[in-house]
């Protein structure tokens, strides 16, 4: 009996090839998206589980104090001073280790590259069981030892037996290689493409950091860099909650009072969450969104199938009638139809798996991930999905078709009557509601992301070449020479130095006083250290007063300065109490930090407000000053000529002036693209989902329109004989499907408005065209639906009426 059912299912597929193709491919598409979404979600959520202690490793983060105003509620990092305290105060923990990320120039005799270095406590090697090719987990006990990954060893030496070889950091600090580890798999937060792109190729003891950067690590309560991690290995049988309670007590007793205004507590997260912590911090539920959207696409595909199968099954009511006459019970027939939909679901699943086998390698390559379709592990999931999809999608048509009594079935009453049309309309409506919702909300998200991009053009980002890492001792004393040589190049217009360039994320604020010594008049400004050429380089006009100058004594800060001339932007006017830009000139404000040598700032110029940090940040109030020993990045404005030639020339100048260090240059465009990466990924992923959803809905509508038109062939014939024109008939058919589509919009558009508003709330600078975009998206959905149906309707309406009548 079962095989008999399978056989009939296959023959039915063969007989109705177009419907079969639409059914199978639609379902396969839905399954592919769903499975891919599922694999991706699972992949991102299962990082680091291969470490033996994975379930006992936690990371310590910080709850951002409300006063900090950084735009997220917590950070996956904390001060480096915290780990030593945990070690002393919480005796039960098995191990505590920090990892501080920093970039250095790495050289062996022949090769030198800038690399991410992790400065780690020796216990890191006890917490994570790396696989040692050479050396062992005591490698970091020696403060001048360095641990190397297998691929880094091959990159620098061409082999892995490199223990004892010497590596130099920043041309100054020598380390000998104490251990070589096997590369950590891609699905670890150490190498995650979501978190910090820092890798774990070079690990150096924390002790060396103190020496090299001349910074105290164990008592540092000021740096909350995202690259810095604090790991704790919980003792067997203890939970993260236990540590949370311990950390809460520790916060109360041991965090310095002034730091309590920065962080209002500690967080304790399992290491498995470290991979996605960046997105969790921003509060964008990207992974949940992927899971939800891929599930919605599957639902659309299922509804698609149900709808087509329902329409199609009505054509088989004679078969059902015959079987019932022969004594088949409803449950036997239900089984038959469910077996059929299971057969289709199985075929679709096989196609989906084949598609995934092709997509996954390409995706892994493009996104540097290591997704895999592990058949053994995912088999239960695949089988259950197939069963659920087959039964869910096939249940309604099976029930509908097998419900009729045998006489009605034999007479084909169902086919001629209105049976199921309401349900079909509801299904089309649901399908369109989901896809219009996706289209509309994705359009809004897309436009918002585009706006972020457009806003970034307020700086001439494609004409500026930035050179990073000028704050190294061997470079910073050559900046004047470098600037003069670069400015002499034919196509270089301006050269400016600054601490940061636009789009770099920065939340460092400076506390200032309106009145000297009056704590109550405190306010904060962001500050940008730059050379006077910065304004010309970035096309920033001066609205009032004048630009800073190299020739005026108080315009530049040196070791003796107590008074400093500065620029402010318009947003800062209010903060210092100025009524207008003109009014602000010569106004003063004062340092609130008693240790600061500079006590007084005098406004000499005002510039317009710009969104220097970009993305979701609000425009902020800034002041601009010129402090020659805090310059990190050069901005070289190039105009005219062949850009690549100019870049070559810049590099040549660099090699001549600073031969010891390779140039770290790139266009400002790339700086922007770096921070825009997440949004671009969203644009791509969301657009993909919306496209597939809409395509599925249209395919379904196409199939259904074809089917319903065939059903109404006789009616159409009669109407034509009675004098209806082709246009009237086409309109009739189009209208039949328009109603559910319109209803769908009533539900979808408000939902999209609501959903996209949540997203827009992340941005300070929002698009104002939300409603028009919704209207356009709705109109597009309706037009596409009409187009799809009309194609059919017109062909059928034009057919010879006699042909139409004879059809029955």
């Amino acid at each position: 009996m079962f095989w008999n059912n399978v056989k009939i299912a296959l023959r039915n597929l063969r007989k109705h090839k177009i419907f079969a193709a639409i059914n199978v491919l639609g379902l396969a598409l839905g399954l592919t998206v769903y499975l891919f979404g599922g694999l991706l979600t699972k992949y991102e959520r299962s990082h680091d589980l291969f470490f033996a202690n994975a379930d006992r490793i936690v990371t310590i983060g910080s709850v951002a104090a409300p006063e900090l105003n950084v735009g997220f509620e917590w950070m996956g990092t904390t001060f480096t001073a915290v780990a030593p305290i945990i070690e002393i105060e919480i005796k039960d923990v098995e191990a505590v280790a920090r990892s501080i990320a920093s970039e250095f120039l790495v050289s062996t005799g022949a090769e030198s590259f800038y690399e991410g270095i992790r400065f780690a406590d020796p216990a890191l090697l006890d917490i994570f069981d790396f696989e040692f090719l050479q050396g062992d987990s005591n490698a970091l006990d020696d403060p001048s030892a360095l641990l190397l990954s297998e691929s880094a060893a091959i990159k620098y030496f061409g082999r892995t037996d490199v223990r004892g070889e010497v590596i130099t950091l920043d041309n100054e600090f020598d380390f000998h290689i104490g251990a070589v580890i096997r590369d950590v798999p891609l699905n670890s937060h150490f190498r995650s493409s979501l978190a910090e792109e820092f890798g774990i190729d070079f690990v150096v003891p924390v002790a060396a950091f103190k020496r090299m950067r001349d910074q105290e690590v164990d008592t540092n309560w000021s740096n909350l860099s995202l690259g810095n991690m604090t790991y704790v290995l919980l003792p067997e049988g203890f939970t993260a909650d236990w540590l949370r309670a311990q950390m809460a007590g520790l916060y109360e007793r041991l965090v310095p009072e002034d730091q309590k205004e920065v962080i209002s507590g500690f967080t304790v997260s399992p290491v498995v969450e470290a991979n996605t912590s960046l997105w969790d911090m921003i509060g964008l539920p990207v992974i949940d969104a992927v899971a939800l959207l891929s599930f919605l696409v599957l639902i659309i595909a299922c509804v698609n199938y149900t709808n087509l199968a329902t329409a199609q099954s009505l054509g088989r009511s004679r078969e059902v009638g015959m079987r019932k006459t022969m004594g088949a019970s409803q449950s036997q027939l239900l089984t038959q139809f469910l077996v059929e939909s299971l057969v289709i679901a199985t075929i679709a699943m096989v196609i989906a798996i084949a598609a995934l086998e092709m997509i996954i390698p390409v995706f892994n390559n493009a996104a540097s991930k290591a997704l895999s379709l592990d058949y053994l592990g995912t088999l239960p999931w695949l089988v259950i999905t197939t069963l659920v999809v087959g039964i869910f999608a096939g249940a309604y048509p099976a029930w509908l078709i097998t419900r009729a009594n045998p006489i009605d079935a034999l007479r084909d009453v169902a086919r001629k009557g209105k049976k199921g049309t309401l349900m079909r309309s509801i299904m089309i409506g649901a399908q369109f509601a989901i896809s219009a919702f996706m289209l509309a909300s994705v359009s809004i998200i897309y436009m918002q992301n585009e706006r972020v991009k457009d806003a970034s053009y307020e700086f001439p980002r494609s004409e500026i070449y930035v050179i990073d890492r000028l704050d190294i001792e061997g470079i910073s004393d050559k900046l004047d020479t470098l600037r003069q040589e670069l400015e002499a190049l034919p196509n270089v217009e301006h050269v400016a130095y600054s601490w940061q360039v636009p789009y770099e994320q920065n939340n460092a604020t400076t506390g200032l006083l309106k009145n000297p010594g009056d704590e109550a008049s405190e306010f904060t400004l962001m500050n940008l250290n730059m050379t006077p050429e910065f304004l010309d380089t970035y096309d920033i006009p001066v609205i009032a007063g004048r630009n800073l100058s190299r020739d005026i004594a108080n315009d530049r800060r040196d070791d003796e300065s107590t008074t400093l001339n500065v620029l402010i932007n318009e947003l800062a006017l209010d903060k210092i109490g100025a009524a207008s830009a003109q009014d602000a000139i010569n106004m003063r404000f004062y340092a609130s930090n008693p240790e600061s040598k500079v006590r007084e700032f005098i406004v000499v110029g005002v510039v317009p407000t710009q969104n220097i940090v970009g993305l979701f940040n609000q425009k902020k109030a800034w002041f601009y000053h010129y402090t020659p020993d805090g310059l990190r990045i050069a901005s070289v404005r190039i105009s005219g000529g062949n850009i690549m030639t100019t870049v070559d020339e810049i590099e040549k100048v660099w090699d001549r002036v600073v031969p010891e260090y390779p140039i770290q240059g790139r266009f400002l465009d790339e700086v922007f693209n770096d921070v825009y990466k997440i949004l671009r990924f969203m644009n791509l992923a969301l657009a993909g989902f919306a496209f597939i959803a809409l395509a599925l809905a249209l395919i379904g509508l196409f199939g259904l329109a074809a089917f319903m038109a065939a059903q109404r062939t006789k009616e159409i014939g009669v109407r034509k004989v009675l004098g209806a024109t082709s246009t009237q008939i086409a309109r009739l058919l189009v209208w039949q499907f328009s109603k559910p589509v319109m209803w769908a919009l009533f539900i979808a558009l408000p939902a999209a408005y609501f959903g996209s508003s949540i997203y827009l709330n992340f941005f300070a600078d929002r698009i104002s065209t939300q409603l028009p975009i919704l209207a356009v998206a709705g109109a597009i959905a309706v037009l596409l639906a009409w187009g799809t149906i009309a194609g059919h309707a017109i062909r059928i309406a034009r057919a010879d009426p006699v042909l139409a009548l004879r059809y029955e």
Binding site: K7, I8, K15, K324, A328
Partner: protein
């Protein structure tokens, strides 16, 4: 075998009430060959549906082997139906997606019969109907007469004692029509009871007895000597 007593069938829609059967009394004994005749709309098909347990009467009693089946539910009727009744339709009602053999098998599929036994019976009935060489053809590849033989084979393969034929020759030309009638006659001789609706007086002549229906009444009954 069958006894119909004062049988009514009324179709109701919101506004119209149509009386299809208006107090029909009729009896069919085992081994009978009965033809039901009458003009379009006289209730022939309705009667056959009720006799075939595809439908319930609105009123009256229907004794099937001394059992009053009139109030039975579809599930109960289905059980009796598959044990006792084979159907032949004017439009054959073969399933296009199944081969000849599989179409015949359909009648055994819901009987909990082992596959080997089903095979044996199908082979034997196809031999009897002269369609053995067509076993693996699809219905669409056969002529009308051949299709109706398949339908007849399907009706008798389960050894049902009663065959109901609804204008079995209606879609056939005279030669093929006659063939099918011969087939029915020989089945009847072997002991199968047959009730047949027909428009053709010539084909009605094959029956022992003709019942004429008009507006839901039995008007005349003619019995022929066998």
């Amino acid at each position: 075998m069958l006894k119909l007593h004062n049988l009514y069938k009324v179709y109701r829609t919101d506004e119209v009430e149509t009386v299809a059967l208006n107090g029909v009394n009729m009896e069919v004994r085992q081994g009978d060959f009965v033809a039901i005749m009458g003009p379009s709309g006289c209730g022939k098909s309705t009667l056959l549906n009720i006799v075939g347990l595809l439908d319930n009467p609105s009123d009256g009693n229907y004794f099937f082997f001394d059992e009053n089946v009139a109030p039975y539910t579809e599930a109960q009727r289905s059980k009796i139906r598959k044990q006792n009744i084979g159907f032949i339709f004017q439009s054959f009602n073969l399933i296009d997606e199944l081969t000849v053999a599989e179409n015949i098998e359909l009648a055994l599929l819901y009987h909990n019969m082992p596959a080997a036994e089903r095979k044996r019976r199908i082979a034997s009935v196809m031999d009897r109907m002269g369609i053995a060489h067509r076993a693996n053809h699809m219905p669409g590849q056969l002529s009308g007469g051949q299709q109706q033989r398949v339908a007849v084979a399907r009706a008798v393969v389960g050894d049902q004692p009663l065959i109901l034929a609804d204008e079995p020759t209606g879609n056939l030309d005279s030669v093929h029509g006659q063939e099918v009638m011969e087939l029915l006659r020989s089945l009847n001789k072997e002991g199968t009871t047959i009730v047949m609706v027909t428009h053709s007086p010539a084909h009605a002549d094959y029956a022992h007895r003709t019942v004429n229906l008009f507006d839901g009444h039995v008007v005349t009954e003619n019995t022929r000597a066998a």
